[in-house]
Amino acid sequence: MSKRITVVSTWYGPDTAGGAEVAARALAHALHLAGAQVEVWSTTARDLFAPTQPYYPAGDNHDQGILVRRFALAKPLGIGELPVSVRRNPACMRVLAQVQPEAQELRVLSSHPHSDELIHAIATAEPSRRFLFVPYPLPISLWGVMSAPAQSFLLPCMHDEPYAAHRLTKWQLEQARGILANSRAEREFILEHFACQPERVVLTRLGIDMQVTGAGEAFRRAHDIQYPMLFFAGRRDDSKNVPLLIQYVQAYILRRQRMLTLVLAGRDSLHIPAYQHAFVRDVGFLSEQSKADAFAACDVFVHAGTQESFAFVLMEAWLQRRPALVNRGCAVTTDAVNEAQAGLAFADFAEFAAALDVLLANPRLTTELGQAGHDYVTQQCRWSDVAQRALAAITQL
């Protein structure tokens, strides 16, 4: 238990958005509260929406009792260029010679922000320090594992995506000391695609804040919601299948001749034709309380995305006792819905429309499903339990 755990995340902080980054911060706090010696090593940038601009001050500072060391970002690299800290590290160069990555992998890596100072600090850290890299595809996580594989754990936040097929990713997952999986489906995906020993891939799950209670009526009043409300919170782009969701909702309205309001919350801008504002409401970035209010206000929480490793928003919707409608193409959300018995899944428009018919016509059913979701979340997603599972994995593997 005396080992020092260092959470390494390219972006970290109170103003940082993004599922993996929010998870990194919450897990760091949970580990700290569980009695572990936790530090965070990160960069000065904020998040994916402002990936390379300095935002937080460099140097040592504290985040609710946790020491956060922020390293300066290095200058952007040329296409396919390797960071200086990697080129000067013989261990990394040996791995690169052995793995023979595709040119496309190096191009993608060079397009993301990195920090030579941070990678150098990892390479020269004392051997007793344990690193937990979040998430897997960013250069700092890859070069970090390559610099100190025996000390490295991954919270990969992985799903079926092009990064997962990279040769360097295969090396990274197979050489890290241990992997913490957010969901059953993510763990199965890793075991299926990589030669990892099952005992090295531990299902630790993630947690959510259980204290927030939403006020649905207040949200409906404040946003003038008059019709049955569907809700989604997250990036409003193709990565979450939001255009598909809007298309499905429009088709449902036209076919059933009944209005719905699709409320979309998120930090990124939403570009839709003006006429769609009749049924799509963009409420922008919501505070935690307002988001809980929105979950409580909705009739159905809809998640059309397929690239998830955990789906915080699904758990948050269940905490507010709302049923979910998820994309059958996403193993993680579909498995969670089946495990929790708290919603329906759709593979195409026909199933989407039929599911909405059933859910909107049966308020007792939605109450039952919402309650099942709430029970599931309170049993599985307590941060204190997650921290104990993560701590056991990091100290015992």
Binding site: R258, Y275, E351, N362, L365
Partner: protein, 248 residues
Amino acid sequence: MTPPPDNTSIDVAAVIAELRHKLARPAQTPDQSAELERQALQEALHEMELTRVISAHLPLVGHGIVGRGIALAQKIIRRLLRWYINPIVEQQNAFNDATLRTLHVLLETFDEHIQQYPPANPPRPPHPTPSDITTLATAQHAQQLGAQQEAPLSPLSARLHALAQTRHRAATVLSAWPLPVRSPVDHLSNTVHRLQRLGLRWYINPIVEQLNASNRATNRAVTALVAYVQARLMRPLIHDIQQHDQHV
């Protein structure tokens, strides 16, 4: 006697929020909504007109004796390469012209059609789903039954969306694309090509920049036309459903 007002039952913050929200969102009739898209389309077509003609003969100006000497050399090189570049640019200009004319005619055709045959909602369908479902298993069964009766969605919308993304990606022409390395000899030839590219960039880059401006304008106009067509077709239908549901 009139009873005193019960202030405790009024949520002042909610009332103010509601008023602000209503003020921020002006009421729109179906025509007004399509008018926004029409205006955006006109602006996009105007921009397309402005960027339609690509020129291979932008002025070359040099300052001082050295600058004027360089400009003169560039003019000579340009004249020597005119047989090669100008026909390419002229072909592009012919295509740009035809594309702009097509969009105008397409717009006129659509407006004429929609005026003769305005979109109308079909009769309101009955609601076949039972409303006494309480268990997940029954719900899943009802969902499967309902899905079997549902006609599949036309793939055209998804294709339009995918094409918009392809257009967006393909709209930018690169004058300095990454040179491929297939064998060690390529390193040498790539170095020569890079030097050639560097030496001619004063000539090629302004043409590519004009191409990109034209591509962006065309992309914007096509996107605006799609949005306008969708608005004219969909907005009256959705407005009609909205009116009916508010009445109910």
